[in-house]
């Protein structure tokens, strides 16, 4: 596979599409984020967001087929870390309708699951599905380094 130029200074990770491997992805991406000297609490948020994105890819995008793969691309743009989680697109992950809010879910108006995307959007600067290649779902989220004086957040 030839890598796009933007990936030249980034990292690529390919994992079996099996629950549990998101833990390894989390440790890999956290180590990558430390190169940008992200503060510890931002790294914890990043790890949570990445776990949710990987679990979505494994459970939904790849429909729990262990023969498939999940790809993760990470790169820095200035002080911003960009992460893409790509599955093989067995089924779409992006919700068709706006998800219920937490209050409605707790009130029993919907499943208590399905809060991953909401959680990710709270933990990151930007998050959403972008056009992927080869028909896979590509979920992208970004984290900008927060400085001690609050600049950059």
């Amino acid at each position: 596979m030839s890598s796009p130029a933007y990936i030249q200074t980034g990292m690529e990770l390919s994992l079996p599409s099996e629950l549990g491997f998101e833990v390894i992805a989390r440790d890999a991406v956290a180590a990558f984020a430390r190169r940008l000297c992200l503060p510890a609490d931002q790294i914890e948020d990043l790890k949570t967001a990445l776990s949710e994105a990987c679990i979505n890819a494994i459970e939904h995008g790849n429909s729990l087929n262990p023969d498939l793969r999940v790809q993760i691309y990470c790169r820095f743009e200035g002080e911003r870390l960009i992460v893409e989680v790509i599955d093989e697109g067995v089924s779409p992950v992006a919700p068709k309708n706006a998800p219920l809010n937490v209050v409605d879910k707790i009130a029993g108006l919907g499943s208590l699951r399905g809060m991953g995307l909401m959680l990710i959007s709270q933990l990151c600067d930007e998050a959403g599905f972008v056009a992927g290649k080869d028909g896979g779902n590509c979920f992208r989220f970004t984290v900008s380094r927060r400085h001690a004086n609050g600049v950059g957040y």
């Binding site: 030249q8 491997f21 390894i24 440790d27 190169r35």
Partner: protein, 152 residues
């Protein structure tokens, strides 16, 4: 991820990591491998040995094989089997590894007289891992294949 990835036994679990040849990024390989090794049940001291060996192999690939060109990749393949973890580290081979370097045992007395105190990496890898083999990667670069056995 790549055309170079060989076909694997379905019971094997393979993680592929591609890193820029930039010193410091070997830590990503170390943390990824230690996370996998923990999950496989390796003891803490074996995980430390694994991390040191990977650090040496990846920094060799960055510094020597890829001549510190950040755009050149180091490919780390981690293959988890029931009773062992196989780590393969490949560079893009701008500078082929001198095979004589892969077998010798450096002497500390000689190193004390040299200005450059380096050159211990391959010896260290051989000391720390159960099996070590230097080959040429499918891409034409240098490749080191290291195996660490899981002792139950």
């Amino acid at each position: 991820m790549s055309d170079e990835t060989p076909q694997h036994d379905p019971l094997e679990k393979v993680i592929e990591l591609r890193l820029p040849s930039k010193l410091g990024y070997e830590r990503v390989a170390m943390d990824t491998a230690s996370s996998l090794a923990r999950r496989m049940g390796f003891a803490a001291d074996r995980i430390e040995s694994l991390k040191t060996a990977i650090s040496e192999a990846v920094t060799n690939a960055m510094e020597h094989g890829n001549q510190q060109d950040a755009a050149m990749k180091v490919v780390v393949l981690l293959t988890a089997r029931e009773d062992e973890l196989i780590v393969s580290v490949a560079d893009q081979g701008r500078k082929p590894l001198d095979q004589d370097c892969t077998t010798g045992s450096p002497k500390i007395e000689d190193a004390l007289e040299r200005d450059d105190k380096g050159g211990w990496g391959i010896w260290l890898i051989r000391e720390l891992m159960d099996e070590v083999e230097f080959t040429t990667a499918p891409s034409g670069g240098n490749q080191v294949r290291m195996v660490i056995h899981l002792e139950q």
